[in-house]
Symmetry: C2
Subunit: 129 residues, 2 copies
DNA sequence: CAGAATCCCCCAAGATACTG
DNA sequence: CAGTATCTTGGGGGATTCTG
């Protein structure tokens, strides 16, 4: 039974990189989504982010922030004080992504029990005795 | 300027695994999303999928399908014929994910030009001469 | 305080080959 | 046809150290 087509056919699975894949890859990396969500609660400074996301290393924090800034999803502001104070926050573009992300997170949260149950069933039935 | 909070605060960033992270990880892996989208156009058999997604190896196809099946997002049906014919398709759970995915893909597609432009600007301004 | 630079390890995933 | 099995490699990402 063919399903009513809810999706635009993907931009031809070109040899190169698909723009959609491009975005999904970023959301799929270990920290981007978490940082975006964190920043959606308000702009924060570097070390504050270290505290908000305890498991992240400074290395990955800096790198991920840079990627997000490069993509125009967050802004970066350096206050010319000593010691320097650098803040990060969502741009309008980044902000426009949040509802989409919220939908996704909501789906995940809502169906997490079903997924957990499916896993249990699968793991129970898959072994050969 | 704090942003109106569009997101449920994440389930405590527990030491263990966050259910949301769990789902995002799967969507972020290299093939899951592509396979889900492909299957949303209708159930397909194993070799048909290798043709629909030319770049995937049989190894990764089998493995990804198994993960998706384990999570209850797709079903797997073995027709007892020789040679065996195995079909895959979306479950209701998988189906319920598609609109969410479609929204995400739509966002990516819609804002891809803005992202590309942001990257160009960033790359132009970041170097130290 | 906010990073950049290095080193290093581990495993996701490609290539290849074999099987019920 | 629909997969497993084995081998191998690239690079994601942690720990640590250095700087303006």
């Amino acid at each position: 039974m063919p399903v009513p087509d809810p999706l635009p056919s993907l931009p031809p699975t070109k040899q190169g990189t698909c723009p959609v894949r491009d975005v999904l890859d970023r959301l799929g990396d270990k920290w981007s989504t978490l940082l975006l969500v964190t920043l959606s609660h308000g702009a924060q400074r570097f070390n504050a982010l270290t505290r908000s996301v305890p498991d992240i290393s400074r290395r990955m924090l800096a790198e991920t922030l840079r990627q997000l800034e490069r993509d125009g999803l967050i802004w970066r502001e350096v206050a010319p004080s000593t010691p320097p104070a650098v803040s990060y926050g969502l741009t309008p573009l980044g902000l426009s992504l949040m509802p989409v992300l919220a939908t996704l997170i909501h789906w995940a949260d809502r169906h997490q029990p079903a997924i957990a149950e499916a896993r249990v069933r699968f793991d129970a039935g898959a072994r050969k005795p």
